[in-house]
């Protein structure tokens, strides 16, 4: 019997030598690897779970105190309240007002900053002018200065421009503060594109804008997605600039959220607070899920050459 098995094993070994090496699913290595990964996932997902569950419970159920338990009776009341009727210190129309303010701030800021930064990066790589390196260095230096230092000068600047307290002022601030990192990203990406492509386009008679729009732009879609994600999440999540440079009527969603959560009248409605927080986070979350793949590709492409 033993000899037969050996023979068979030898035959099988020879005939299937080309197949993939068999792997043991439950090897100690795999258990360690996936065990760690699962633990980490749970650790990061747990707060989300608690938020989700709490936001779907009524207040009496929350008072029982088991924050991990799923709701016995699912209610969407907190979500509706958070959106349309939760009270800040000043008014009681929920987050909806802040949401539209945030949209009005984010959309123009993102578009303007990406357009300007991509043209900046393109010019810095392909149309080097006298002092372009110095210009770039100063721009990069700007990203190392803490925002707090610039807050007060910025307030004065906006006041002199007559933009203080307006949406336009905040859009301007976001555009300026997004410039260093975005310009760096685009410059590095464009410098990774072959220089001969630019030369060929010049021989073909395309000018500054022609090359940018017809050659560079179609080739740098991944980079634009990266910039889009960075800016949308950055600007949407911004609290500091929103609270400093705007007035209560045009507070962005984050500031509105803070005011709802921190308002000190009556009972703390944990379910409404949770729902409001989730609502505020939905936009960046959506952006990540919608463009995650392109984001990774763009980051990798930009990283090849610095």
């Amino acid at each position: 019997m033993a000899s037969v098995t050996t023979n068979v094993a030898a035959n099988v070994g020879r005939s299937s030598a080309r197949g993939p090496k068999p792997r043991r699913v439950l090897s100690p290595r795999n258990i360690m690897l996936y065990g760690t990964l699962i633990l980490m996932c749970l650790y990061y997902l747990l707060p989300l779970w608690v938020m989700m569950m709490t936001s779907l419970k009524g207040m009496p159920e929350i008072r029982i105190g088991n924050i991990f338990a799923p709701p016995v009776e699912i209610t969407f009341e907190p979500w509706i309240k958070a959106w349309s009727s939760a009270c800040t210190g000043l008014n009681c129309d929920g987050l909806s007002r802040g949401f539209w303010n945030s949209v009005q701030i984010t959309v123009p800021s993102v578009i303007i900053s990406i357009i300007v930064a991509s043209v900046n990066g393109y010019a810095l790589v392909n149309w080097k002018f006298k002092g372009s390196e110095v210009f770039f260095t100063i721009l990069i230096f700007g990203s190392f200065i803490p925002y707090q230092i610039m807050l007060y000068p910025m307030v004065i600047l906006l006041r002199e421009l007559g933009l203080y307290g307006s949406l336009g002022g905040l859009v301007l601030v976001h555009t300026i503060f997004g410039m260093p990192i975005l310009t760096l990203l685009f410059r590095n990406y464009f410098s990774s594109l072959p220089e001969e492509l630019f030369k060929a386009a010049r021989v073909d008679g395309a000018g500054f804008w022609g090359i940018y729009l017809q050659i560079m732009l179609p080739m740098s879609l991944p980079m634009f997605v990266v910039a889009l994600i960075l800016q949308v999440t950055g600007i949407w999540n911004d609290f500091l600039f929103g609270v400093v440079f705007t007035k209560p009527e045009i507070y962005p969603m984050t500031v509105q959220l803070n005011n709802i959560v921190n308002s000190v009248q009556g009972v703390k409605e944990y379910n409404v607070n949770m729902a409001a927080t989730m609502l505020t986070g939905l936009v960046p979350l959506f952006i990540y899920f919608a463009s995650g793949k392109l984001f990774v590709r763009g980051i990798a492409a930009g990283a090849v050459k610095g």
């Binding site: 001969e196 010049r202 073909d204 008679g205 017809q214």
Partner: protein
């Protein structure tokens, strides 16, 4: 004959570094000039200056008699082919070829006509609607040539167009470029570091080093009468044998160690007596024989025999100098054997060791 390209006292500095120095170059109409040199010699830089992709420091450039020193690349009447093809990846072959014409606002039917003609010449018709990513290296380079072709210009500039291709494709496209030139009769300036390309394609070769043209002449002239030591060593594979010695007897003989070589029949200027001179001999201008002949042979010891297929290369040691000789492949030589090399002095070159110039 009129000059298609005239370069006058062209100088280019990058900061403190001088890349091109006082360069003068005239290219006749319909001529194929190859700029040849090691990397960093300024050959690509010169081409970029001709194309208008680099701003020059001093001097003037004329194309077809027009001063284009400060003209935009597209206004110079040139087409350019790049080493990395530089095709626009998001456009089809047709889009790539018509991009320049669209920028120049050429009418639609004219664009179509020119693209069709270029596609016919380069056999690109079946590929017109493909993207560059779906093409092979050779096809991509043909598209790049087509892009220059549709511009209907008099001057073509090639910047190492074949360096990215494998050896077989390279020789195929080399022939194709030569055929293209004989068909279109355009002026072509071609940059390469491959001397085979230079020797096969060029009407004239400009050998460059350190931003200076060392010699500008027909390929045979460059090969047979290199104007200085650098050109002699750069052209030819394996390179020329250099024997260090002196010219003696009022320039009638070359003293190499104990051996004296008779210089009667040398094609060149007055040899004179030079205490330090170099005798340059190409491997194919030496023959191996068993008998010594006074004033005509150098004795040497066979070191290595390298059969190369068509012929075979023998490396020998003569008076401490390593030499190579090309011999018919049937001729087998015993290693370590003492032989005599017969010198064909009519094809030799003598250089002054100090000035490095041919005499």
């Amino acid at each position: 004959m009129t000059n298609s390209i005239e370069v006058k006292d062209l100088t280019l500095n990058f900061g403190a570094v001088s890349v091109l120095k006082n360069m003068n170059l005239d290219v006749a109409e319909g001529e194929f000039v190859v700029l040849l040199g090691p990397s960093g010699c300024g050959k690509s830089t010169l081409l970029n200056c001709l194309a208008g992709l680099l701003d020059i420091t001093d001097g003037q450039i004329f194309i077809k008699g027009k001063n284009v020193t400060w003209a935009e690349p597209s206004e110079r009447g040139i087409g350019m082919v790049f080493q990395s093809y530089a095709l626009y990846p998001q456009m089809t072959v047709r889009g790539n070829m018509s991009f320049g014409l669209k920028n120049a606002r050429v009418p639609k039917d004219e664009i179509e006509r020119r693209v069709a003609r270029a596609a016919e010449i380069l056999q690109l018709e079946p590929l017109l609607d493909r993207k560059p990513a779906a093409l092979s290296g050779g096809q991509r380079q043909r598209v790049a040539i087509g892009r220059a072709l549709v511009r209907d210009v008099d001057v073509f500039l090639f910047d190492e167009p074949l360096s990215n291709l494998d050896a077989k494709l390279r020789s195929e496209l080399r022939v194709e470029i030569k055929r293209l030139h004989s068909r279109l009769k355009n002026t072509m300036v071609y940059v390469t570091h491959d001397q085979i390309e230079a020797l096969t394609l060029a009407d004239r070769i400009a050998v460059m080093r350190g931003g200076i043209i060392q010699q500008l002449a027909a390929p045979q002239e460059i090969y047979n009468r290199p104007s200085n030591l650098f050109v002699a060593g750069f052209i030819g594979s394996p390179s020329m044998n250099f024997l260090h010695g002196a010219t003696v007897d009022n320039g009638k003989a070359f003293q190499f160690g104990e051996t004296k070589i008779d210089l009667a029949g040398y094609e060149g200027g007055a040899i004179l007596e030079r205490s330090k001179a170099i005798l340059g001999l190409r491997p194919e201008h030496l023959t191996i024989q068993d008998q010594a002949e006074a004033g005509k042979t150098i004795s040497a010891i066979v070191e290595i025999d390298e059969p190369m297929g068509a012929d075979s290369l023998v490396w020998l040691l003569a008076n401490g100098t390593q030499m190579s000789v090309r011999v018919p492949v049937e001729r087998r030589l015993e290693l370590g054997k003492k032989v005599h090399l017969k010198v064909d002095i009519t094809k030799a070159s003598i250089f002054d060791k100090v000035t490095e110039q041919r005499v």
